[in-house]
Symmetry: C3
Subunit: 662 residues, 3 copies
């Protein structure tokens, strides 16, 4: 497939106010940029009038790039429709007005007709170029909350397949509440008016499926034209959240994507792609890169490519000198086989004008360009070594964090606390793992439902408030612990079934014997927004509840069950508390817990060890080693390091050590 | 009428995921639950298709309850329409989509036709059962902001009856302002677009009337079927407010209901009902129970029933052990002749799933059930005694707090401060009374307008910022004080007429001689959002204004007028300041001011005294007594208490003393 | 033209609940009120039914006023349409409902037909009266965000005139971004749906132009009837902002008006008018009066009239005793030739009921009236002197603050910080000037583009973040400095062209040699939301960046260029920092910087000096004087002051000194 580590940038010749293609390609080549991504979002240039195609700029860029040894990823332009298409069938815009992007109905037949045609035109004309190494289908696809009678009709049909009778549906969703039950599937009302969480969540699940189906459809079209050595990718993204203390920020990639069924959609690509954005400067912690990488890599259990990475100040903050380098190596350390900046050249009009690229608006090489250039040289030197690791066994983790699209949506309907989303909980549990340098995969509950192999891959599964869980997942979790696995569950896990019906039995449902604990009641306290009044049965109480009115109940328990262990954290714990619980659980599960922790982050890739200093001060440390090791290679400096030597890792620095032979 | 104190729960067999009727009735019987409320909200079960009626579940529950000695209140299901009805005439939903409740147009003819039919069917089939003790019409009825051309047309006709000519209306509402005057009633514009507070408030008043008229209509239908020994009730509720510091709370019952004319609607019922919700745990103060009870009891000057009371954590907080008991006795102490939990069984789907019942989702007796059961036994023991008091003279207070629907709406248009609503002021004045253990009725200004008797019932009237007051009320207030009554008025009282036209004379309008003070100007200061620049005439200045720029003006005054006294509080005072003023006024009015105060609350019912400890610490106190008394009965313990003995009232405890013979 | 200083009030006989015309005119005459403004907003009284005109009340007021020696300004009533007109053509209301004001489409043909007719009727009937001194056209006109297909069609035609081809437009606005480019002008989409800032800003510019065109149209109609000695005025207003710490305030006049092209519209009037509102009591600083006056006076470089000024508590705060006097003299000191209170009589219904007038709702003379009356006498005494100064050379400043409508709109699309608007920046720069008593004009960038004379008028130009600047303005700025002028530019000045396209060259664009500095990158830091990474070339670094990661870059620079100086402030500085920079720049530009500063404000008018004490404490000071002066006249006291004598200016006091002969 790919022959080298991708170090690239997105390039939009259509957006530039002046023709500077040669200038740009020369600057890229000098900086070690070996790949560009083009064409996505430029439909109105490629088909300015219905049926009039013009791929001049696309072809010109591909051919010019080839001269500079630069590869090309061609993106289908479908996420931004041209004005004429919106005018042709206004129904595809619903109540939205034309002018933005990704707000049309991607199931609209007119849209699909024209999308298919432009995809076929574009891919057929570009697939033959040797330096076109792959295609990206659409971009950050979501369901865009599309909603109209046709979509609802599809939803009703989807429900017909799920339920034998309408009474089964009434019962499963509890529609008798407030007279919402219906006498036939036809009578099912517009789901956007419902106050029934089960019905509302089902609609979201259906729409996430529609978004995934759209990508599968695009993939099938592209497959008709692409060469075997060309990949199909998509840039999966994440929830987009502005954390409380960052009012002036645009937001950040944070937790799983709520509006696409990633797990289903990942079957549409041969190479998972992603974009991950996050605050930099003093706010850079590396957690978004690590979480995003762990989730996207886990989608296909294979290397992935970071299709977009920020160069300059998307949130108003410019990376400190050194941070661009840190970001690139962080992606590598997560198992990425490529990393591209978005965009090459800063844009001069429009909403993305302040999402700056490698070059500033003046198009001249400045300090940021020079940093990228130095990094390009460094990557060129070590990439072959790293690339072999990534393409080989890659990352193999024995811990997995289990996330769930249904739990996320259900949580929106039934939050433990209005300001605490499911992704916040997920990220709190992930942070505890990340900052303690306990590497993990991030997997979907659906994978555990579908695959027997997934259960054997891990020794420890962490469930951060897995609100919805089906009977089968519960039964398999029981077997997993029985056979020696370690389960760590946060409050409200296994609470409702997949129809978001709260279970009628003792909680945690179906697993009271595994966790050795049960509860039926919960409360807020002065310290936490959610505390279950745990009644330990066989389990050991690690911490009792601290509120004196409820002191007879437990807060955290651990139980031996079969050959394994099951931990239950019955309240919304702080990250520091989670670190304590998860470290203990990991030790109990036989995991080696590193003795370094954030801001010193260690990430492993085969026998490579990346160390990152996410702080403003130098950190001095001695890497852990196996007994027999005495020397390691410092790959970036090209020197050897003796076992006794402490490494001085400067602020925002990276060191890359190799224990074995290449 | 009723033969015993109602201790009950709401029961929705339709919502339950499994049939457990016998289990539930047995658990109820064991817990002393003697009444259930059923049927309201279950229209789609009772009439799953237009004209197909099925009351199987209703009849089954009534008959099974009878076996367990449990009475039944049957609720009309009209507040939640079925899907087929919304589809039949979409106009009844206005711009709302089907799926919630209480968002339809309750004056829509199609709605009325079907509502009448289901009421007739339901009531005619259930009225004959001996254990059906009464009917609830609709539920927490409001006007739901219904708005369409037909409603506006009705509003125009209603205005035609109020005003002789359109020019009278132009004048009364000041419509010449900004060219809003019209040449005919037909031209009156959609009132939801107006910026004229008089016109806007009139529309609200009309819609509050429509909601009341709807209840009167339902009542008339039910009367055709019910037995003489069966009551008609309705659960009146309150404003629903999230106080500033409770972001994570769902809200609480707080102040008077803004969207129903309670006073008019109370004529539709033979037994006033209510539901009162409030925060518990460390936030439980008892004020919502006391205010709600004082208002609802005053509607009919008779005992009432609490149709819904929370059992578990509706705001996320679980009542501390002991608080459920405290809540039940608090209702009793306010003069309630019954109290029902909402609901019996926690619900497994939908928006009320976290508004938990007596039983948790697992349906098993747990600690909460056990508390209810112990309470049921206690109530069974003392209820006959208490019930006799309630049914006898009941509560008779000599102080009344006067509230006004028109003032509330006018205040929304013209707040003294954007974050300070009329109900906040009402509750500040009520809190001052409540925490000083000065019991009062809460009455509507409309009652004072309609009834001569009301004026003779009280010795002291408190007007918390009665913004709107008609000429007659003003004149009668004058007579009231002249004849020896005490009036206490907050800032902006008697400010505008009933058309929300600010008075053209000196303020407080029509009462400058009674209060002995006048003003024409006001200002904010560093301390308060509203301070009238009072110019005392005859009145004594209790406090001057504290802002040095305005020090020559008074802040609080007291005036002797005729045989009475009139107090004027010309600024937005703190609750502690109000306590001081109101205590002094009560003493001046000859009221006995208790020497205990919150968190020790005393409530009287005939010769019974309830004491409540709303705190986390034990309180030691000696009850006040008449000279001749030496012994009282502790009804809950069944012991006698000597005069000298201090009572140790534990945290969140209740003691119930009886001075006389039963 | 005018023969005396206008001291007036707005009078709405139509709004009053009782006929008290004679009472009011007598009270006015006693208070020295010599002018009233009438008729605006009373269309429904003047034309209660289509085509039925009734000017009885207008004529009656004019004639009665004449008897009392009171002049009249007649306002066209067009900003508040009557109900019948809204019903006649609902399209003029767009999605708004009738009932407010200034929310109709002022380009609607039906509206224009009726507006023209009422203007002709009103003006023709009143122009003949001797005491009618002028006409006000409309009121606080803005574009009201009018939006419909006809407006958009006009916008497309306006764009056709700006751009030769559609491709020129695509290019200038960067519409290729996200497939927004179009193949013809017809295809240009609804601009309210766009995410393209250039296209969105152009639509705002067009609508600002439509609002100005509307005033020019009214002016032409009035000109057909008015006498030569009658003026045409309009009350231009400002942005309306609630500052962060004033949640309970209604807001204040703050910065330039965003929704009208003032500069264009000023050609419609012969006398600029304005209304300026602001917080009083402890919050009164005088800055709004000064800024508003400096901007409105600069529109026509001539005296102006304050058509509305608050008397009582529009924000809930009443002016402290003395502040009304201070406000009146502040307007005078800015060059106003008149000042009118809004309104005379407080209004009893509707949304302006709490925007109180000179008289309170009781219509009786109270303390506020007495203050106005004393002031009226004082003004009558000194007005002839002051009036001669105002009408003579007036104010002539050598410093100008340059503001820009396009920059303001562009800033909304691309704020440096979500909570920091362009007008905030403008007011920060203005505050630095104001509080240091450096008087200035406030001029539009458009004037600099249009007029050669404007460049020669000033010695120092201050550009507070002039985001958009055309090539010509840039070139002329260069010449201005070359020839000896001083330029002071804030961060992001000269950043984008007039199409809001960010410049492709080094920043500050086109002026890197003038400022001797360049940059391509910027960042937030812990201290500021925006800091450009300045690379000084020839410029002197006044302050380096304080963030240690960026310490090699400059924050503030000064450069000698030609005979002049150019200062560049590359970050969002605090007001205290701005004061330092601007004081230095003014000294460098040969301006005399006073040694007094806020809260002691000095404003000059010819040889008159007004001193204001904007504080709660007495201030003692010695006025600066020329060498030869030894005595000045205190005009308000009618005494002389020796050079050595310190003046004791009491809290919220005014002193008015005259150096020369009258």
């Amino acid at each position: 497939m790919m022959k080298r580590f991708i170090f690239g940038a997105d390039y939009y010749i259509e957006y530039l106010p002046a023709d500077r293609l040669e200038t740009d390609l020369t600057l890229m080549e000098d900086a070690g940029i070996n790949t560009i991504r083009i064409a996505e979002s430029t439909w109105s240039v490629e088909e300015p009038r219905e049926g009039e195609f013009d791929f001049t700029s696309v072809i010109r860029v591909i051919e010019a790039a080839a001269v500079h040894g630069i590869d090309v990823i061609v993106g289908t332009p479908t996420y931004a429709i041209p004005a004429w298409l919106a005018r042709k069938d206004p129904s595809m815009m619903g109540e939205n007005r034309f002018g933005s992007r990704q707000d049309m109905d991607i199931t609209n037949p007119t849209y699909r007709f024209h999308a298919e045609r432009i995809i076929r035109e574009l891919v057929s004309r570009t697939a033959g170029y040797a330096n076109v190494i792959g295609f990206q289908i659409d971009n950050e696809t979501k369901h865009y909350f599309m909603h109209n009678e046709r979509v609802v009709e599809g939803f009703r049909n989807w429900l017909r397949e799920r339920f034998d009778t309408i009474e089964d549906l009434n019962e499963a969703y509890g529609l008798h509440h407030w007279s919402n039950s219906v006498a036939s599937f036809e009578e099912l009302p517009d789901p956007t008016g419902t106050v029934n969480g089960s019905y509302g969540c089902a609609y979201e699940e259906y729409r996430r499926h529609l978004a995934a189906e759209f990508l599968l459809w695009q993939s099938d079209i592209v497959r008709e034209y692409k060469r075997d050595d060309q990949f199909i990718t998509h840039n999966f993204d994440f929830d987009w959240i502005v954390l409380g203390t960052e009012k002036q920020q645009l937001g950040r990639s944070w937790g799983m994507q709520p509006d696409l069924n990633d797990y289903e959609a990942s079957k549409a690509v041969t190479l998972a792609g992603t974009d991950i954005y996050f605050p930099v400067a003093h706010q850079l912690t590396g957690i978004e890169i690590a979480f995003g990488g762990d989730l996207i890599r886990s989608l296909k259990k294979a290397p992935y490519v970071v299709l977009e990475s920020q160069a300059q100040c998307f949130t108003g903050w410019l990376p400190y000198p050194g941070q661009l380098r840190q970001m690139a190596f962080s992606h590598m350390a997560s198992g990425a086989r490529g990393m591209m900046y978005w965009p090459w050249h800063s844009i001069h009009n429009g909403i993305e004008a302040y999402w700056k690229g490698v070059l500033s608006h003046d198009g001249q090489p400045d300090e940021t360009y020079e940093e990228v250039r130095a990094l390009g040289a460094e990557i060129a030197r070590i990439a072959p070594t790293v690339y072999r690791k990534i393409s080989g066994s890659g990352k193999t983790n024995r811990i997995a964090l289990v996330v769930s699209n249904e739990s996320l949506t259900a949580w929106k309907w039934f939050p433990a606390n209005k300001e605490l989303g499911y992704n916040d909980i997920v990220m709190e549990y992930y942070r505890a793992l990340y900052e303690e340098n306990l590497e993990c995969d991030v997997i979907y509950d659906r994978e555990l439902e579908d695959s027997e192999e997934a259960w054997s891959r891990y020794e420890m599964l962490v469930f951060p408030s897995l609100y919805t869980a089906g009977d089968e997942l519960i039964a398999k979790t029981k077997v997993f612990v029985e056979n020696g696995g370690t389960a760590v569950a946060g409050f409200r896990s296994f609470f409702a079934d997949k129809n978001i019906k709260i279970r009628s039995g003792a909680q945690p449902y179906g697993l009271t014997d595994v966790f050795g604990v049960s509860y039926s009641r919960w409360t807020r306290t002065g310290d936490t927004c959610w505390a279950e009044l745990l009644r330990p049965d066989k389990a050991e109480t690690l911490h009792p509840m601290t509120d004196r009115h409820w002191g007879e109940h437990a807060a955290v328990t651990c139980n031996d069950y079969g050959k394994g262990k099951a931990w239950y954290i019955g309240y919304h714990a702080t990250v520091d508390e989670l670190k304590e619980y998860i470290r203990k659980a990991a030790e109990g599960a036989g995991q080696k817990v590193p003795d370094c922790s954030w801001p010193l982050i260690r990430r492993r890739l085969g026998d490579l060890e990346f160390y990152f200093n996410y702080s403003d001060e130098t950190i001095s440390f001695r890497p852990e080693r196996e007994a027999e090791e005495t020397v390691r290679k410092d790959l970036l400096k090209g020197t050897n390091i003796e076992a006794e030597t402490a490494i001085e890792l400067p602020a925002w620095g990276v060191v890359l050590l190799q224990a074995g032979e290449d």
